[in-house]
Amino acid sequence: MGVTVLQPYPLPEGKSGAHIIDHLGKRLLSLGATHAGQFLVDCETFISTPQHGTPTRAVHVLHDSEFPASTFSIIDNGTGKQVALVADAIFDLLMLKMTSTFTSKKQTKIESRGARFEYGDFVIKLGSVTMMEHFKGILIEIEYRPCITLSYCWEMIREMLQGFLGINVAKEYPTYFTTQTIMNAMGQQQLHAKQNDLYEPMDTVKQYLEHFTNYRKHVQLHGGLGSSGLSVNGPVLMPSTVVGVGMGRS
């Protein structure tokens, strides 16, 4: 268990996702990384049936194959407050008991799956994101296992990322770590920088949720699938870490 950073990989024009993934995988292998199985992160969102007086609530249920015994869920009560929960895998069945109150939005079921590589202390996962069998983009997960505080190992992760992705990664910490709001003792929300906190598995899941939400919103903006009036909650932050777009090496 270490620190994980999620990095979306910009798709260059005229290239297919499978091609890029294949290319990146080959690069990793030639670096000396070993192929170590597959991975899958999926997310399903349940929306409460609208009742007068209460805002629409959304429950995001995520699974990560790296934590096979757990189900992660994050509730967004519509006013910006989020509560996260880690539970046994059976939590999924409990959600099904509430189908009359919380209905699953099947068309927004989104997942990232792909190959998993190990390279020394790093674990790298090349995920292709699909929603309803439609390819949405590439998400690269990189984990540095010996450390659990981002600020101590960010530089190393960044260098590693730049090394095999061939793109420039901004020097600043990823936005997930800098823009978290927490509740203080007085019950007020305040901005909190997370890079010095101990990293938890929930952080990985929250990063995935953030990116998944972006992909869904993207669909909505382009009038693709989400024409059913789905309201994606919470402020959505476009990742600002991707600065240099384009391949460093041909």
Binding site: M1, S70, T71, A89, M202
Partner: protein, 648 residues
């Protein structure tokens, strides 16, 4: 019925026949109801006769009369059933009325006077009453005392004859063993470890019976002198007839009879390195003396069961385990390879007939391994029966504590995989045996080195606290008399198949199980110890260290160290000492000296001037073994001192 012949009449078991039809069918009268029979009984009471004798007579006559009455009843069916009773009560009432009238008249003493008939009511005096009671009580006490005396004599007689009571024995048996009574009256006991968590299939039931009387007689003759003989007899004839004075007999199934033990041998080639014998005997308090000889029988049988379970478990694991050199299970023997040429042999010995020619218990057995085998099986039992309780209480029963936490703490795949792995008993035993062997080997190497190498001294401290698969030794290398100048210390962790050496400078070296590697390492450490001490000593004596090297790279190149050397110059730089220490195959010290300028100078055509001599001269080897001194450092000190004084 009314003639003079006496006949006895009994009520028939069945109901009375009311009518016999023409075809012979008998119609029965329905049995009287409760109220009818009550009325009938009430009618029989003769209220006029109340004394016991009268009643008895009455019974006879009533029985005779009954038949008559029955006949009558048939004719007086219409009468109210309680009529006779009412009449009699009425008569009684009349009598009571008359009596009360008489008494009331007598009270007036005008018409009637009541006089006592006889003067016999006097003895109701208190003192007489007390006396009579006392007498009655003393008689009763006499009876009780007599009875108690009889019981006591019977009891003491029984004890003196040493005839034990079956039930007392059974009670004692019940206190130590699980017994139950089965339907046909037999008593079945269970000596298996199932209640302690064992899942071994073999049944451990035994039967408890009462010994025959003839045996009792024999036992009575044998008496108490044969306590030890009896126990040996019982051990030899498990389940056979016990020749001891026990009224209770236990019958153990044939497969649990006899004596069994598990023999563990560590073997190098064909030579036994250490052996261990595992059985349960002699563990726990000996309670045979307090209870019966059957205790011994059952303990032996339980031991057989334990050994069989242990062996069965080990054999199963040996077959399942995927070892680089496969384990071999043949008959009652398991062979596993610990290290090259070294084998662990575990065998189950079970003999049903006890003979005195059996080899005497081996004195040189390995208590540790023995204990571990026991402990490991017990641990398996314990784990089978002791599951952690869930908290909070509504959580499911079964998963381990770690697994319960895995969900909410988001345990990753590796952690979950680790939870499923467990070490089998055989693996643990092999690991422990390997460790024992490695430890012995390390001890041997260190001890022989300490014996062979007198200078410097090698002192090893073994940690008293260690785990079954890891121990730790600290080694100090010092030179006697020069302890303050230098000391080399290193720590060796002895594991299952490897050693880990940690030196003072932080270097960590991993050695294999080959003893030569450790030997080489220690020799190299001695080398560097000598050189580093010499350097410190030289500084103390104001000599200059020109160079020193711990790894000259000459001779056999070892990965752990090599020959080392050192070059010293005297305070005024006119003399030099060169030292080289090699460590292969044993420590070899070479010392050379050179002086410049030479004191005697003879000019030659090539070297015309004396100052050329300052360039340094030829090194001459010193016959180091001839130098005065106890140790290398001592000799060097003398050498340096003499060279220094020469120049002065």
């Amino acid at each position: 019925m009314s003639n003079s012949v006496n006949i006895s009449v009994e009520t028939t078991c069945e109901n009375q026949i009311r009518e016999i039809a023409y075809d012979g069918t008998e119609l029965y009268q329905p049995p009287p109801t409760l109220s009818e029979s009550l009325a009938k009984c009430a009618a029989r009471i003769d209220f006029s006769k109340t004394s016991l004798d009268d009643l008895k007579k009455e019974e006879k006559s009533a029985a005779a009369a009954e038949d008559k009455e029955d006949k009558d009843n048939q004719f007086q069916e219409s009468l109210w059933p309680w009529d006779a009773v009412r009449n009699k009560l009425k008569d009684a009432y009349t009598e009571i009325c008359v009596l009360s009238d008489v008494i009331s008249i007598a009270k007036d003493k005008r018409y009637l006077v009541l006089d006592p008939l006889l003067e016999d009511g006097d003895d109701t005096k208190a003192i007489v009453q007390v006396y009579s009671r006392k007498k009655a009580l003393s008689q009763a006490a006499q009876v009780l005392l007599g009875g108690a005396e009889r019981l006591r004599t019977a009891h003491s007689e029984q004890r003196s004859r040493n005839v034990s009571d079956f039930h007392i024995e059974l009670l004692r048996l019940r206190q130590n063993w699980r017994l139950k009574k089965v339907s046909n009256g037999a008593i079945i006991g269970d000596l298996s470890y199932r209640t302690a968590g064992s899942k071994f299939g073999m049944s451990g039931t035994f039967e408890v019976t009462k010994a025959e009387d003839t045996l009792d007689e024999e036992g009575g003759a044998g008496t108490s002198a044969t306590a030890s003989a009896a126990s040996s007899a019982s051990s030899s004839n498990n389940g056979m007839q016990l020749k001891a004075s026990s009224a209770l007999r236990v019958i153990v199934p044939a497969e649990l009879q006899g004596v069994a033990y598990i023999k563990v041998i560590t073997q190098k080639d064909q030579e036994d390195l250490c052996t261990a014998q595992v059985n349960l005997m002699g563990h726990g308090p000996n309670i045979t003396a307090q209870v019966g000889v059957w205790q011994k029988t059952l303990e032996f049988a339980q031991n057989v069961l334990f050994c069989k379970e242990l062996f069965a478990q080990l054999a199963r694991e040996a077959i399942q385990l995927q070892a680089p050199i496969p384990h071999v299970v043949i008959g009652n023997q398991i062979r596993a390879t610990l290290l090259p040429n070294i084998q662990l042999i575990i065998s189950l010995c079970h003999s049903t007939s006890f003979d005195s020619s059996q080899p005497a218990p081996i004195n040189d057995h390995d208590h540790v391994l023995e204990h571990s085998l026991h402990q490991l099986l017990r641990e398996v039992h314990y784990k089978n029966s002791h599951h952690p309780f869930p908290h909070p209480a509504s959580a499911p029963l079964g998963p381990s504590k770690k697994r319960m936490l895995a969900g909410p703490t988001a345990a990753d795949r590796e952690a979950l995989l680790d939870m499923t792995k467990t070490q089998t008993i055989l693996e643990q035993i092999i690991a422990q045996a390997q460790h024992i062997f490695m430890r012995k080997r390390t001890q041997y190497v260190l001890d022989t080195l300490a014996r062979d190498v007198k200078d410097p001294q090698i002192v090893s401290h073994w940690n008293a606290m260690n785990s079954p698969t890891m121990s730790c030794v600290k080694i100090n290398i010092v030179t006697h008399g020069y302890d303050a100048i230098g000391r080399t210390s290193l720590v060796i962790h002895v594991k299952e198949r490897s050693l880990k050496c940690i030196c003072r400078d932080g270097r960590v070296m991993r050695l294999s199980y080959e003893p030569q590697e450790l030997r080489d390492l220690i020799l190299c450490q001695i080398n560097s110890h000598q050189i580093s001490c010499l350097v410190s000593l030289a500084r103390c004596m104001a000599w200059t260290v020109l160079s020193n090297s711990n790894h000259l790279g000459i001779g056999k190149v070892e990965p752990l160290g090599n020959a080392s050397s050192c070059l010293l110059a005297s305070p005024n730089s006119d003399r030099m000492i060169a030292v080289q220490i090699r460590c292969d195959p044993q420590i070899d010290v070479k010392v050379y000296i050179a002086r410049s300028p030479r004191q005697d100078f003879f000019p030659s055509p090539l070297v015309p001037e004396k100052f050329w001599e300052n360039l340094g001269g030829n090194f001459k080897e010193v016959r180091f073994d001839k130098i005065e001194g106890k140790s290398f450092l001592n000799k060097m000190e003398f050498l340096m001192a003499s060279l220094t004084s020469n120049t002065a």
